[in-house]
């Protein structure tokens, strides 16, 4: 086990890609689910169901895509996913959930 071998603590990482204008909705859900911090990567590009998504739009942050990442203990994941599922009933975007490990668990509680 990685956690035992390296002295790390298991956590869950959730990554969300949405339009910049929907980022506030996602971060509100992060906070409501108990996340104490998150990371944002602006102007990401890629290809998906709706074709190619341009990365940097020079004069519009709200329509370009952002990647939001949050790491939190497993007990908060259900709440987080419940909120995100609601968002994705109407908003475009993708969601990835994976196991991860952190060295300072108190930073994420």
């Amino acid at each position: 086990m990685i956690s035992e071998r390296w002295g790390l603590t298991p956590m869950v990482k959730v990554e969300v890609v949405v339009a910049g204008e929907d980022a506030p909705s996602v971060t509100e859900v992060f906070k409501a689910a108990g996340a104490v911090g998150f990371t944002t990567v602006a102007n990401v590009s890629g290809f998906g169901h709706h074709g190619y998504h341009q990365g940097l739009l020079a004069f519009n942050d709200r329509s370009s895509l952002v990647l939001l990442m949050v790491v939190l203990p497993e007990e908060h994941v259900e709440s987080l996913l419940e909120g995100l599922r609601q968002i994705f009933t109407e908003r475009r975007g993708v969601l990835f959930v994976s196991d991860t490990f952190v060295s300072r668990p108190e930073y994420f509680r």
Partner: protein, 832 residues
Amino acid sequence: MNAPSRAAALRAVVDLASDPLPILWPLETAIATNPLWDLRSRGFAGAVSVADRLLGATGYPSDDTLRLAYCEGRITDTDLHSALREYRLSAREEFGVREGPEHFDAAVFNAHHLDGRIDAEVARWCAAFLGGKLPRSSDGFYNAWRHSVSTTLWARRPKAKQLLSRLPPTAAEAAVFCLTLLGIDEHQWRSELTAHLARMPGWAAHAKWRSRWAAPGTPGPALELVDYLAVRLAYATLLGSETSGGSEASGGTARSQTAQSGWRENAPAGLDTIPALAGMDASEKQEIWLRSYEIHYRARLLRALTRQTSSPSQRPPAAQFVFCIDVRSEGLRRHIEASGDYETFGFAGFFGFPVRVHPWNGGSAVDLCPVLLRPTLEVDETPAGGRPASGSALLAAHTGFAGVGPAIEAGRQGEISPYVLAEASGFALGPVAALRTLAPQAFAALRSWVSTKLAPEPRTELNLQGASAPSDDSQALYAETALKTMGLTAGFAPVVVICGHAATTENNPFASALDCGACGAVGGARSARLAADVLNRPRVRQLLRERHIDIPVGTVFVAAEHDTTTDRVRVLDAGSVPPSHARLVENLQEAMSQAGRRLTDERSGDLPGADPSGATSHVSRRSVDWAQLQPEWGLARNASLIVAPRALSAGVDLQRRAFLHSYDPASDEGGLFLETILTGPMVVAHWINAAYYFSAVSPDVYGAGDKAAHNVVAGAGVWQGVGGDLRLGLPRQAVFDGERLYHEPMRLLTVIEAPPTLIDAVIARNAVVEQLVGGAWVHLVCRHEGTWLLKAGDGSWIDLPDGEPPAYPDSAGPVDATLEGLQTSRIGGGQP
């Protein structure tokens, strides 16, 4: 679902529930937006249908407006034929439009049955919170209310006391708690929350701005959507437990119902006498009439552009000017071009530098960019010679002088203080008010003299060097983007004037709506100065040369500002112009002043009560008259956006109705610059266009009402009268001339000179452009190789020979356009 999951789900549902609501920026930065922006994926027709049902908002020009337009020849039979044909293509399939889950019928029903007392209570608390009158405001609206309401008589009622004692500590938990007590399960949350928001769309729109658009750390009490809804639901819970069945509505929905029923009675009659319209529902008929109205303008515009014969001068220009794309710049550009060998360009008025400026006097930072952008550059403004020391005489004078107005205002807002203020200062303020009323220009001159004596405005600089300044590379990158996007990369004149704009008005809560929208609804002088300073820096020019933009050593960039209320244009920082160019800049100042005077003469004929014989003096007086409700027409009658080299429109009188963005398709092979324009400036132009459109066609819901009866509410918005909901949109005086519409409500027509394949590629990779064009929020016409092409609703391109609508009849079938039933006798006659 456990309790934390329910709270997280509620946060998400709150945002979705607010989709049908507009966004209301504070008055200080009154951004014009499309009130249906978050419904745009439904297409224009779908979105206005939702707004009609939920808010009673009319989505089309009134029957009377259209009938009048037909009788005056503003809509012709040919226009109707074309509209019908184009509509049939659109109805086949609208690309970029998708249906969403339908929550609105339940929301409409619920909104009609909510207790009107909730609105009255919540409106009072919102105003008190934003006015800074509630303790613990930093804990958010819900907790500030919970703390303060417990001290009121209302809270002593047993049921209220019991409810308050059980309310959870966070707004999201409280909302879930109340929804549970009300017996509303998760599947009904969204419609219930939408219903609550729809009751007072003004307050909801302010909360939506705070929750979804305000920058983190925006100063002032934060009225968030979830807090607003938690308080509403608490009242709903309590009133539900105290009464059986709700009383009738008294808020926004009641207003909406009136508008709705009035529309439905008046709409179909008279305008559906064409057999080809038989079988269509009311909204389809309205859509065709609106398109007819739009096509008439389009045909005239394209005809004028086709016939224009002026060609660019072969001589190098004596000077170049870069103006904001704002429609008010068009007239000034036309007059400047007519006065000499001058070349003009149009670009978004922040000139490509999304900057946050920290003012020299320690005031709040100012963001100078469209609200679609977050500032990525930070610049300190300093007086020439360095930042004044804390406590310096200059700073103290400015702080003291700037504090006079807010101090008087604070005195007017208190419970007792207005009486004290009147007693203590009435002897002085009375004569001042009399002078201000009887001789506004003299008062303005006196005030200017006093402020110059007591707190002179220092000459300032924007600090572009040093540790806190943006890097040279960063400055060069933004400069490169701006120059390439507007197609100004070679052939630089000895002087390039970068001209921002602002409006001088007095006693006008909506003053910022007349400033530069591309600068975040503030004046454009700082943006112009910043751009000129950056482009004059040798290091930036060196970096630009590496990027194939060679600005000659002999070229100087000079900042200027156009006052759109008075049409005065002044060079800024004239003292910084090198002696070698001083004479030329003096001549340009004179040319701009003359062009401004000609523009004043031109537009004063449209101003209500204007005196054409003394136009300059008249507009000057309007700008300083505190009783003036229409200092200028702003962007009223805006209708189109032209994205093309100036050669396409040079010499054509566009009547100050066109946003003009310079663009050179020859240097944009991949469409990157076109993409920048269509995802940025076109969206801003659409917002402005839609704000004017909906304020005109649905003034009861999306208009701010009569300015004469406005009361400002804590800088958040205005009341029409003394309480209730905040008003949305633009004041009546921005779109109406007396009882008649001055603004012509039409959707934005975007004209682009570029290959259609390039435009299609930009549309395909940008959902926002696809939604606007495919959803008929914006009409798109392409100019390519001498032909005009119209983007149809099914995504195809239709040939428009010489800009005229396609010939009729065609496969769409015959139309009997005998419109005898629409004669003048019916105009204004109520039921036709």
